[in-house]
Point group: C3
Chain length 205, copies 3
Amino acid sequence: MAKLALLGGGGFAKEVAEVAGLIGHTIDSYFADKPGNSPLRHRGYLEELKQAKGDYDGVALGIGGVSRKSQEIRHRLIGWLDDNAIRCLPIVSPRAVICKGAIVEDGAFIAHNVVVAVDARIGRFSLLNTNAIIGHDTILEQNVAVSPLAFIGGNAKIGRNSLIGASANILQGVTIGENVVIGISCTVLGPVAANKTILPQLKRA
Amino acid sequence: MAKLALLGGGGFAKEVAEVAGLIGHTIDSYFADKPGNSPLRHRGYLEELKQAKGDYDGVALGIGGVSRKSQEIRHRLIGWLDDNAIRCLPIVSPRAVICKGAIVEDGAFIAHNVVVAVDARIGRFSLLNTNAIIGHDTILEQNVAVSPLAFIGGNAKIGRNSLIGASANILQGVTIGENVVIGISCTVLGPVAANKTILPQLKRA
Amino acid sequence: MAKLALLGGGGFAKEVAEVAGLIGHTIDSYFADKPGNSPLRHRGYLEELKQAKGDYDGVALGIGGVSRKSQEIRHRLIGWLDDNAIRCLPIVSPRAVICKGAIVEDGAFIAHNVVVAVDARIGRFSLLNTNAIIGHDTILEQNVAVSPLAFIGGNAKIGRNSLIGASANILQGVTIGENVVIGISCTVLGPVAANKTILPQLKRA
């Protein structure tokens, strides 16, 4: 398999590295704006990665998508990777279920126990976290982050850079625009326009 | 394994066909009131299925249970299948976990990553969608549809033709009557009488 | 593997016994304050277990953690097991995913389809029920019960004897004190002090 450079040094990067290892890739160093507490070797950040890219078969994007801010960082890094023609393989857990006809594009990350139903399309650099479910024929554009236990019904469409929070539910057939944030545990029954934020209701003690 | 006729031509039918294929069944044609965009051969609808039933070892019911209306359609089709003495095997994903002592009756469909706990009973033609959980000793009567990520606690009982929405939670020990609809993401802590509808609270932007 | 005494005679005890069997342990008898309808042999309760402990390699704690009361019972039984120097192995489903660097302490029970992310720590006698997710670097202290489909984000910390209800969501980084009860389907976005109870909002018909 491939020798990959890990871009990111936090907890999500550890999860990406674990899955990459399970499917036979080798990761022995990472690039981040500052050193983390990773056992891997810190080799600097973007300038150093640009210099060193010949040492690797590709890059694994290890920045999580947990907020509007982190989605924007991911968006910028994807642009940088594309500008520098750096290849990013999809990284898919062997414990995920990718059904017949489903397409997983380059740079996508799919965590343990995710189910991608028949004929769904997971766009470039989209991130499906643990136990997320993507319904049949659903389309995720580039850099959509789907958090753990989130459910997206069949025939839905999620625009680029949008974030679906943990345990959120998107009804079948719903269209969500670009740069949307759906908060943790929210339920969405109809279309959501680009750039909107849907917040969860707080439960009181 | 068996050669099955698929009844239904939409997205859910594709999911049923995929699982049936994974466990070794053969499906090469479907029956629906109108042709869909399936790669399988459309052979007509109920009259044609009645004529052709000798060509198959049984039928896989590929109509999803996502609304009161679709549950009623499933109910009528089950009656038609019974009237015509057509056999419907249970179709259970190899990625589901069916625990010791659990019973899965004819016609039931169990999707990927479902867990059916010890000594639960899944009634005829009940439908457990992706990552649904059925607790120990719980009884689902005929044609209960349990949507993705729904949780039904132990020692519960769900009446025939009822629908449990995606990510809904039914507390342990609760009894739900026939023809009930529990909406997406609803939490149910006590008994629900027959024919009731429980609606989700909407989250606002 | 080991010969275990099962402590508890209800539905959860059946689930623990099933998983113990899947990983090669032998359970042929149980101890409970009164006989249940288990096919196993009822050998009495704590006095009898104390007498008979030499017959077993250890004890599997088969009392579920579904309420403040049952968590208190588990807490007292754990104290009794410790006082009597009875060993309790962790019991982990072969269908769970325990990621690299994660630690599962003695007496913990991990059900089917659970995911414990990298470098998480599951404290003594903690109980992770079906499809629960524990984020990276998260710490569960002793006797934390995490119900089915609950999600605990990365870098969280849950205090001893606390109960996280089914489908509840705990945001990443949140600290929850000891003896807390988070109700079914609740979403928690900030710290919760010791001994608090967070109740779900009811959905109306």
